[in-house]
């Protein structure tokens, strides 16, 4: 029988939740790395028991942990993220140029076919790669040096490269997103990059609403069977591209708010998409105090509220960009964690929800693994 494993990163450690295919009873292990911020954990598609975790602390900096046994045991691997060549500068809050400074790893994306190869998205924004299981990390400097890196400017949440999406069909193609800088695509495994922002509009955030640089892209998702179709939750607006990011159109439709952080695609229905609307960038809680996941079965524009089992009064949590994921069982489980420490799960594509846990530290990331 299949097993579903949820890798949950929180403000105070990592937790691993495991269930059989019924997904009714969950075993919980953790906190691993108690007291540390765990921005992200993710397993290798090529070897699901190979896990990587980003462990960070304002006091002690960055640690990368690796497990070879599905999270039972861990070992710290390399934690040196040195920018390639001359460090360079980017725009600072006061308009001056400021040196790039490594702060933390936001996102770890293992290669689709090599457990020892992992991409890391870091703050200040850059992408690194290891090919030796995390022992050493090298920057892919083409991203920062694509020509306009010096114009990137941190938003209030920092200048983190928080999203990395690997295209399973066009090998070597990957997408990344950076807070307050935008989205980029590479077709040569990260050597060269180009911005993919045509069609994005940010009238409240940018003096030039359709500028090439500066859009605050929160998350990008794709379905492996249709990799040229991308879905994006931007700071404001839910967007869609059908040409690999060449152009975007808005599909916010009837959402109660088009601000939000995560966006995921159903495991078996490439036109079924999930978002969690948040009232606004200055509120960071759900509209009307009602926690609602919205599902579109038409690839956007037409959205339905999923509320069964979710709090519909006095709920003021947020759901962060990395904190939503799907499993690949036939009925498609959907999972998300909140800043209030709940992890909710649905075993029926979002129709009904239950709280798997209610009192974790604030959840930063959730990744579902489906194991045979």
């Amino acid at each position: 029988m299949s097993v579903v494993r949820l890798l949950v990163g929180t403000r105070k450690g990592a937790f691993i939740l495991t269930s059989d295919g019924d997904r009714k009873q969950w075993d919980i292990s953790g906190p691993h790395f108690a007291g540390w911020e765990i921005y992200h954990l993710k397993g290798s598609p090529a070897d699901p028991d190979r896990l990587y975790a980003s462990q960070t602390s304002g006091w002690f900096g960055q640690v990368i942990q690796r497990s070879n046994d599905g999270g039972k045991t861990w070992e710290a691997v390399g934690n040196q993220f040195a920018y390639d060549g001359a460090t360079g500068t980017h725009q600072w809050y006061d308009g001056t140029q400021h040196p790039w400074e490594f702060k933390r790893v936001w996102h770890l994306e293992p290669s689709l076919d090599d457990p020892d190869t992992v991409y890391a998205g870091v703050e200040d924004a850059a992408i690194f790669r290891t090919r030796d299981g995390g022992r050493t990390w090298q920057e892919l400097p083409g991203l920062r040096n694509h020509g306009k890196g010096h114009l990137w400017q941190p938003g209030a949440g920092g200048m983190g490269l928080h999203t990395i999406v690997l295209d399973p069909v066009h090998r070597g193609r990957l997408y990344i997103a950076i807070s307050a800088a935008g989205a980029f695509r590479s077709d040569d495994a990260g050597q060269t990059w180009r911005p993919i922002t045509r069609g994005l509009k940010s009238p409240y955030e940018l003096p030039d609403p359709d500028a090439e640089v500066g859009h605050c892209v929160h998350r990008i998702a794709l379905h492996p069977s249709r990799p040229d179709t991308l879905f994006m939750q931007k700071h404001w607006d839910v967007m869609r591209s059908d040409d690999g990011g060449g152009s975007w159109r808005e599909v916010s439709g009837n959402l109660p708010s088009d601000f939000g952080f995560p966006i995921v695609v159903h495991a078996h229905e490439p036109e079924t998409v999930y978002v969690v609307p948040i009232l606004s960038d200055s509120m960071h809680y759900p509209p009307d105090g009602r926690l609602r996941v919205y599902r579109s079965r038409t690839g956007g524009n037409e959205w339905e509220a999923l509320t069964q089992g979710l709090p519909q009064a006095n709920c003021y949590v947020n759901v962060l960009r990395g904190a939503m994921s799907v499993d690949s069982l036939p009925s498609c489980g959907v999972y998300f964690g909140t800043t209030g420490g709940q992890v909710y799960g649905s075993v029926d594509s979002g129709d009904n929800w239950t709280a798997i846990v209610r009192d974790f530290p604030a959840v930063l990331s959730v990744e579902a693994q489906t194991l045979p």
Partner: protein, 98 residues
């Protein structure tokens, strides 16, 4: 022999309990003690001082003999009581305030 007290999270990271005791080659200074500490526990590299610049991370403090050594030159000799092993070198995560 130098006695070192690590903060809780770094004891967990290094998988040690209680004090760490180290023999240091040459004059014992904060810098040479950290070199020896990182040599014995490579997992601590980058957690106390920057990999490249070797500067103390902003919220790390070094205390000994009721003194804050954090702002002293890292190659200054440690107090005699630390050299004799009477007092430990305390490596501390600065208080967060609040």
């Amino acid at each position: 022999m130098i006695r070192i007290v690590l903060p809780l999270h770094l004891r967990h990271l290094a998988r040690v309990e209680g004090e760490v005791r180290l023999d240091v080659q040459g004059p014992a200074t904060v810098s040479s003690v950290l070199d020896a500490l990182e040599g014995r526990f490579p997992v601590l590299r980058g957690t106390l001082r920057d990999h490249a610049s070797r500067k103390r991370r902003p919220f790390i403090r070094f205390f000994a003999c009721e003194q804050d050594l954090s702002h002293d030159p890292s190659d200054a000799p440690l107090p005699d009581a630390v050299l004799r092993g009477d007092d430990p070198l305390l490596i501390v995560g600065a208080m967060a305030g609040g």
